[in-house]
Amino acid sequence: MAFKDIELNMGPQHPSTHGVLRLKLTVDNEVVLKVEPVIGYLHRGMEKLWENLTYTQIVPLTDRLDYLAALSNNLAFALTVEKLAGIEVPKRGRYIRIVLAELQRLASHLAWAGFMANDIGAMSVLLYGFEAREDILDVFEEYIGARLTVHGIRIGGVPRDLDEALVSRIRGVLSGIPRRLKDIRALLDENRIWKQRTVGIGLISAAEALDFGLTGPALRASGVNWDLRKSIPYSSYDEMDFDVPLGSRGDVYDRYLVRMAEIEQSIRIVNQALDKLPPGEFMAKVPRVLKIAPGQVFQTIEAPKGVLGFTIKSNGTDKPERVKMKSPSFINLQSLEHMCRGNLFSDVVGILGSMDIVLGEIDK
């Protein structure tokens, strides 16, 4: 009894597909021949909906795209609208946005670390990562009232100020994260079983990664030094001092190391932003009914999952003519088949985990 060219279905309901994703796998005795992702199970028609809502009404809906990193979606959309309407965000607002966006990056990467380790079998790392993430979500709750779909960045700035109490609370949270990170790294970094499951698995070279349009930590793990926070800085990121971690081989292990290093860099950025927080306004004067003259812009940010962008075309009214979202996970998922080919069936789970996709972002 051989397993020649068997079609296996990792169906929409599966413990490891990070959402409703269907993978049609063709395997030959455990070696993967073909992977075909089938998406659309979470399609909510966001882009159609947005054409019927005002710009301010769209911002809370963007939370639901990448629901593990809601503030990045808010930030990307707000930046695009501001570029289109010519709104200038005051400096304090920009700095608070940096703090929020990097905290969100921390939360997203900690959730990713937990899920990926759990898929490969190290169950405890899931709980350690989420324990650290809980502290960050509590900060969001104190700041704006929501943990997951935060809506904490609005058009023109941020809705609330960071007062002294909140600043010291954030610093406390940040000082607690390295300890948990040390626990996770002690369990995984030099673990023989972890390395056997991740080193040399899911390889993608730098040239192929660029060709497939891969962005984010997965691209940086292949050695390509592309971080939008450095190359096309937005929201005062050019005033922050941080490193961009790079990998060399482009395998699952490198992606893991890159994201762990990014967590450390994010802590560094938040501390700097809190130290240098300038006084002043945190929200620009935005009219209640925001009408934007006809025009079109494309603005991107470096979200935790990759390059997230919005194209907005306005038509003079308070509702956009067209909003198109460039979703990093949608494009990253296309390279899954290339990475999985030739690897074993058990590795598909690890490779999918290392790509860090979120179905809300893919399916809109």
Partner: protein, 165 residues
């Protein structure tokens, strides 16, 4: 002739190279809000992209956007505008190519040049009904294969038609 301001030398260079090499293809150009957009003829899409990729280093296709112009006050001749957002890495230069295409006209698929256009073109087909010649596997990406209609067209109602599925 579009005047790209002198403080954007890279964009100026791209604009001049493009209009120099393909004078008949470039129908219009615009520079607003710091972004360069060139409208080109549909039949020259692949040569222009190849030129930009190989000789000017635009190695990434950031996004593929489709606009439905049917409700615009100055209704243009062709219904859809397809926008190709190109990016040069390293160098961080962005250029937008605009191609106008009619309702039942097929467009050349750019998958041979940029592999990341694969699903983006499927999405354009799924949402607008645009067909791409030479696409390896053109089928719907979000909606079920037997769905009737193209939802992001302006004449498709927000609530959907009938049962939908």
């Amino acid at each position: 002739m579009l005047d790209v301001p002198a403080d954007r030398p890279a964009l100026r260079e791209v604009h001049e190279a493009l209009t120099g090499r393909f004078p008949d293809s470039v129908l219009a150009g615009s520079f607003e809000k710091g972004e360069l957009a060139e409208t080109i003829r549909a039949e020259d899409l692949l040569p222009v992209l190849r030129f930009l990729r190989s000789e000017h280093g635009f190695n990434c296709l950031d996004d593929l956007i489709v606009l439905d112009n049917v409700r615009l006050p100055e209704a243009p001749a062709k219904r859809f505008s397809v926008l190709y957002q190109l990016y040069r890495f390293p160098g961080d230069v962005r250029v937008r190519l605009v191609v106008d295409v009619g309702e039942d006209e097929p467009l050349d698929s750019v998958v041979p040049i940029y592999r990341s256009a694969d699903w983006a073109e499927r999405e354009a087909f799924d949402m607008f009904g645009l067909r791409f010649r030479g696409h390896p596997d053109l089928r719907r990406v979000y909606l079920p294969d037997d769905f009737d209609g193209y939802p992001l067209r302006k004449d498709f109602p927000l609530e959907g038609k009938g049962d939908g599925l």
